[in-house]
């Protein structure tokens, strides 16, 4: 694989100015459709995983061909095929002598000695989808040895979740490259909440270890802080964090209603009863999404301070992350207790979660500052330099 160098925004600004920037509606139709279909795939995957988790909790019986599984698989398939189509279009455009601008998925990566030209974001989303297919086969092998256990923390399941996360990250990269256009900004506002919802599932890999804190809680704190700050930083406009938090809230509310409804309706349709002795708990996946409009307001305030006081954003970002992580960590147990009558947290656990919130928040802030720069470098916007 041969790659064209990813370089800093300033170094590429002139080249981008000289390139065929295509801002008219007609010429952005293809990129908009491609990015939207990848996003649609990740949304379908998110619906599928939430429904599947709820199905196993409330009903149980499993086969390969269930509707939630179909959503899971087709979500990755749709995102993967859309990525493949965009790679083929980019290759076609390159060969015709009209290479796509970097705003379409990021810098072109030359594959197989230049046979294919793949915009970085689509390459990432497509590789994630291809890995999903590959690890789907590995998962079948795993189940043939260990049975059809409905656990999240098997190696093959974690690999599948990682693959899906890579596709979702590709989706974020695609929209980050088009952030100078309205549809690109809207895409960020939608793609970041999808990743905030999904990424913590991968931390189930550590569920079998004896740790002082539930790794999923750490995952929720870390990924939500990192992605919220990163998304707001990419958008680079007042209200960005609030918009992301609002989109996350809408997704959470929808999944809260949809997941149990779909499980119950599907069970009735196929003639299966609900499990006996179900506890009056909220749906698993949406109840683990932090309700963080308050957090977003704090991020907005901190960003406003950085802008108005001319602070060095890169140096202050870890602090922003630490504050964000602490608030997420402090409000998460409260959210759990308020929404789940069976949940309880000791003072010691809340204290440990708070400390984890600060530490992982600092790391999230540090990384968010770097990732913002890296994602902006995918397609430097002349207006930003």
């Amino acid at each position: 694989m041969e790659t064209k160098p990813l370089t800093a925004p300033s170094a590429n600004a002139a080249a981008v100015r000289a390139g065929p920037l295509t801002n008219d509606a007609g010429s952005t139709m293809g990129p908009r459709v491609g990015a939207s279909v990848v996003l649609l795939g990740t949304i379908i995957t998110t619906l599928g995983i939430s429904w599947d988790v709820q199905w196993h909790k409330m009903v149980g019986p499993d086969t390969f061909f269930t509707l939630p599984h179909l959503l899971l698989y087709s979500g990755s398939a749709i995102a993967g095929i859309a990525s493949l189509v965009m790679v083929l279009m980019a290759t076609s455009a390159q060969r015709a002598g009209h290479p796509m601008p970097r705003t379409v998925g990021g810098p072109p990566i030359r594959l197989l000695g230049g046979t294919f030209t793949a915009p970085f974001g689509y390459l990432m989303a497509g590789v994630g989808a291809a890995l999903f297919l590959l690890y789907g086969l590995a998962d079948l092998w795993w189940h043939s040895i260990y049975g059809f256990d409905a656990v999240l923390n098997s190696p093959s399941h974690i690999a599948l979740f990682l693959s899906i996360s890579i596709t979702m990250l590709g989706s974020v990269a695609i929209f980050a490259a088009a952030r100078d256009q309205r549809w690109g900004q809207l895409g960020i506002v939608l793609a970041i909440p999808i990743l905030i919802t999904f990424a913590p599932i991968t931390t189930n890999a550590f569920a079998n270890l004896s740790l002082p804190i539930d790794p999923t809680i750490v995952g929720i704190i870390f990924f939500s802080s990192l992605l919220l700050i990163m998304g707001a930083g990419i958008l680079r406009r007042p209200g960005g964090a609030i918009a992301i938090a609002a989109a996350l809230g809408i997704l959470q509310a929808f999944l809260w209603w949809f997941s149990p409804w779909a499980a119950v309706t599907y069970a009735a349709a196929v003639g299966l009863p609900l499990r006996d002795g179900l506890a009056p708990q909220p749906p698993d996946l949406p109840s683990a999404i932090p309700m963080f409009l308050l957090v977003a307001a704090v991020v907005e305030a901190l960003f406003w301070m950085i802008r108005t006081r001319g602070l060095n954003a890169r140096k202050v970002m870890p602090l922003v992350g630490g504050v964000t992580g602490l608030i997420v960590a402090d409000t998460l147990p409260l959210q759990q207790v308020l929404t789940d009558p069976t949940a309880s947290f000791s003072a010691a656990t809340v204290a440990v979660i708070g400390v984890a919130g600060i530490l992982f928040g600092l790391l999230a802030g540090f990384l968010a500052a770097r990732f913002i720069t890296m994602l902006r470098a995918l397609a430097p916007d002349p207006k930003e330099v």
Partner: protein
Amino acid sequence: MNTRIRPPRTRQYHRLAVAALVTAALSLAGAAPAMASAPVKVVHTERVQVGPYGVTVGFSVWPIRAMRSLDFTFLPDGGIVGKSGKLLLNGPGIKPDERVTPLVRHPRKLDSWGLDVKALNAPGAYSFGFAIDGPFGHGDGTLQGVTVLNQPGPPLGSSWTVGSLPFLGLVVVLVVAWRRIRPGRQPLAI
């Protein structure tokens, strides 16, 4: 001289893109979901006396191996109607929140209590205790010494290594991009 007119390469890629879309649409349309879960097939049983109630404990896999999920059925003589109780699990792979749970119907064998596709994650000796209330009053009893053998398949470390490859690949991509862009040295405006 070859007089065949070859289509431009760009048209080939467009055709490939259309073919990919059509294949995707057909494959999704053809994947009609079904919901025919397999019935529970008991291959081994044990008996345990729980006070006045005789209980047959059924296993869908025997012998049991660590991490290998299977179905357990708990069927009191005369059926489960009019009876209720608790299951008390003990053994090296049982987590604290799994030790005491209500006896509930097996979702794929509704005339029996049970556990569906449950794996015991560590080898060793396990016990299945029962506390049952029914028409003959309360009864307690335990099936002791259910042996769980070592896990099947390759060592868990190698499975986790293969499973973490996507993460390692992602880290490699991030490190390469980080080294090229040097984000820590770039000005950041938000």
